[in-house]
């Protein structure tokens, strides 16, 4: 069995007068330590699939098994704890907390787990330094460039040492130079941290960096 198994995955949303099926029976397997990119035109279902893989939403039908655990059978609380301890997220718009500084933003998932800053300071600082942000630890998000903000978001995704990282258009809001830098970081962290990375992107060159490309069209893998 693969590290991630999606079987006959379906997702529909109720519209005003009818139901819109976004995912129409996805079957997908992703191995441990694999870096895959999800590609496809707008409306293909990339973000929806990412939301389901990221335990942010539940499928209408089918199942998702990650590391032997069936997400569709988990309660809300179990999904929350699963996200907190096993997953890392990287968003297109970074989603940093404006009230926290760089170090605190990176340590955020640990705070939610009841850990103090001092207990994770070492690992968080080390990760941030590795990402070239050692001199920015006390800065707030509005004092950073887009590339720097995304690197903080990457550090945050790593701080709980997750087994799976989900990235939604991580370079979508960056210029080409910063985008390339972020992709290089992502590529390396798969190796260095032995994590699985699923990245949604529109950008073909970005998708090339992944070990495998998965193409979606109208809710199915093509």
């Amino acid at each position: 069995m693969s590290f991630i198994e999606a079987r006959q995955l379906r997702k529909s949303y109720a519209s005003a007068d009818h139901e819109v099926e976004i995912l129409k029976g996805i079957n997908l397997g992703i191995e441990k330590g694999e870096f895959i990119s999800l590609m496809g035109p707008s409306g293909a279902g990339k973000s929806t699939l990412l939301q389901l893989l990221g335990a942010l939403d539940r499928p209408s039908a089918g199942e998702i098994i990650i590391d032997g655990k069936d997400l569709s059978r988990m309660s809300d609380k179990e999904l929350t704890l699963f996200r907190r301890r096993r997953l890392g997220f990287i968003f297109q718009f970074f989603n940093l907390m404006p009230t926290l500084n760089v170090l605190e933003n990176a340590a955020l998932p640990c705070f939610l787990d009841g850990k103090s800053l001092s207990s994770v300071r070492g690992f968080a600082t080390e990760t941030l330094e590795r990402l070239g942000l050692g001199h920015r630890l006390d800065h707030r998000p509005h004092q950073l460039s887009g590339g720097e903000m995304q690197r903080v978001a990457i550090a945050r995704a790593l701080v709980n040492k997750p087994s799976l990282i989900l990235a939604d258009e991580p370079t979508g809001n960056l210029d080409s130079k910063n985008g390339a830098e972020v992709l290089s970081i992502l590529k390396n962290l798969v190796k260095d941290f032995n994590v699985t990375l699923v990245m949604v992107t529109h950008d073909k060159s970005a998708a090339e960096v992944a070990d495998r490309k998965v193409q979606l069209l109208d809710g199915v893998v093509v």
């Binding site: 973000s47 704890l81 968003f91 297109q92 718009f93 907390m97 705070f111 939610l112």
Partner: protein, 868 residues
Amino acid sequence: MIFNLFRYFSLRYLILHPFRSLLTALGVALGISLFLSIRLLNDATLRSLDQNIESMTGKSDLTITSDGMGFEEAVLEKVKGLASVKAAIPLILNYAYVDDSPEALPMVFLGIDMLKDTSIRDYNEGGGDIVPDPLAFVNQADSVIVTKTWAAQNKLAMEDSIELLTKEGVKSFAIRGLIDNVGPAKAFNGRLAIMDIDGARYNFGRDGLYDRIDILVQPQASVKELKSELQTLLGARFRIEDKAEQSESMQQLVKSVQDVSNLLGLIAFLVSFMIIVNTVNTAISQRRKDIGSLRAFGAASHHIVILFAGEFLFLALISSILGCFIGMSFAESSADQMARGLNSTLMTNVNQMTITFGPSDLLASVILGLMSSSIALIYPLYKALQINPIEAIKPAVVDFTHHKKPKIFIWAAWVGLVLMSLTVAADYFSASQDWLQTKEIQPLILLLGLSGIVLMGPFLVLTLLGLLHRLPLPFLFKFSMANLLKNPLRTASTSIHLSLGFSLVIIVTAINLSFKSTILGWVDRITSMPHAVNITPWGSISGLQIQPLHESLIPRLQSTLPGLNPGNPKPILSLRIIPLTIQSQRYIVKAYDKPADTSIIRYIDPIEGSAKDLADALFHPTRDTLLLSETMLKNIGKKVGDTLDIDTPSGRVGFFIGGNIREFASPNGVIYMDREVYKKYWKDPLVTLITVDHDPALTSTDFIALINTQVKAEHLVVNLPSKIREEVARNLEDNMAMSDSTKWVALFIGTLGLLNSILIAILQRFRELGCIRSIGMTKGQMLLMILLESASLGFIGILVSFALTIPLSYLWVNSTLSYMLGWKVDFFFTLKDFFLLFGIGLFVSFISGIFPALKAAGLKLREALEYE
């Protein structure tokens, strides 16, 4: 973990948005401060009354009192004859003035048994004799004792003399004793003088009378049994009370006034409560993405609860503590005015309002702040917990959605309409249903109507905004309207602040104006006798804190005063005013001299029948008749034609009720009677006020100038009837001071809420405003647009407040207040008042928009477009 959430989120949000935090804190603090100041003032009033009782009662177990002119001295001997009585100490209590300045405070004169009184009351630190040689003091008839404090204030020493108005005119007294500011002296704030009881009775025209007797019960005897024995012995005219019962009587006396202030404070607090609701709501909607991200990272429901509860409960805690300080200074600054108001209206003796703030006040304020914040948090937090982690993935874009008017507003408007209809029905049926007339139900009716206003307001505001938007107005104006209509929820919650605060302003203004107009209109009517001036002793008639005059003054004046009306065989008439308790309620008795011609009487304001008929009934030659105010008739459950039994010093007398009149001297009720009838049963030769009918050839001012020297020599004051109007107006101002302050503070809280809401709305629209600026809107246009938004919202909010509140105020003034305070008041609100309040409302709305408008105009485009 809790600490981390509080430290990294709750506290940080507050610190990073200092202005918004400050506005919210100030709004809540002001609400708390109103609650607290009213509580502190009410406590101080009750404490002052208790202190008076405590210091006057001293060590005694029971006190015997009777209203009006005191009671006959034979009562003392009867009381002393009871086996359970260890000691019975009589006392005379009288007011007198040592100068005639309008601001002069009365001196309280106690006539005491110099040898025995110290067995129950202390006059010096450590007790002991009041003066070293009481017998020598008594033997010198002009002896008087004053407090050391008062003597020092007036630069007087032992053997110095002071002049006092007595029944025989002004007499000189020598200070032959100085006492400490303890016991009764403390209760009257040092303005206390003491005479031997016989000297006091003689000088103040109280021959053969006592005002009270304090009793020490034999150690083995039962106080309860003695009380019952005394009541049987003396009859219902006498009140026999222990300290607790005296305290209870006083609390009952001030209860209705305190109930009204508590209610106003509660409504003002509701305005500040709305600030918390709105701030929490907007904080949560503004942070949807943050909440979504936190949820995506694994934040559980309780983390979100802790985060917002920490932020707002901490803010509430700080606000409550700040509110305590503001509330204390409110209370300190209003104490004197409140005491004057109570003393003049209810004839209480509140002299020393000491505002004390204790741990229980702090605790009550903090609990109120935390509880209201917790309630305010419930719904927004519930909504926050519904936020899906998918929000984190949604891009930060301008919200171009045009929200429809949510159905909840329509439902709320219907519920509001039902509540307002219930209010109308309750007011309508209050006249016939006794259970609706209670002081517990009537405030609920008021709150019911106010809730109706709050629920109907948003729907009406949005509907009117929609209509305004359709008018052919300049682009920027229409654009502002469109902005307000785009997010109805935000607009509605913003308008609620102003509407609620403003509704309170309208209600209180309408109530105060109606009171003022009704009472002053009545005073104008009753003092409209032509060619009349009043002669009074020094002091305030309305509070009855004066030394009354002996009736022998009247023939003396009649024979010596020049310029009297030659056409009137009785140009000088007098009036005696005394308090009287019937069935545990305190009323006012006004006993008038019969004029030569009853058609000249102006003071009778009939509810039924003509003034002339009621005057003839009042001075009926054979039947002892009373005219009763409508509130009194209601209180005692009688009607015209019935008989009212009153326990007089001459025994129980059945009086015929000859008429129903409008009277505002006491909220409980007023009794008019012929002074001859009064003298027959009360044996009281004193008068409170003298009215002189002067020669029509003279103006009243010329007449006053003509007699002034002679009247001044008698240490009396001669005034135009308008002086009474001024005194009543001043008393009204004192009584309304608290409600006036409450309404302006409520408006200020509402303004803070409005400013806070507009500011938050600007921040929520930062990206949108950035977009508009990027496509060519100038800073000036942006400034104007935001100001137009706040002013239009204010304009419509105020219009809706007026439309909903004026009809309800009409009902409350005509019904609710009559039952809460006892007076039937006519609704009064002029167009001038409408425009004045409208102007104030528009001004505060405009002011509220200035800071947010400047902030919006000054936004940096790059930041606004990148803003998350």
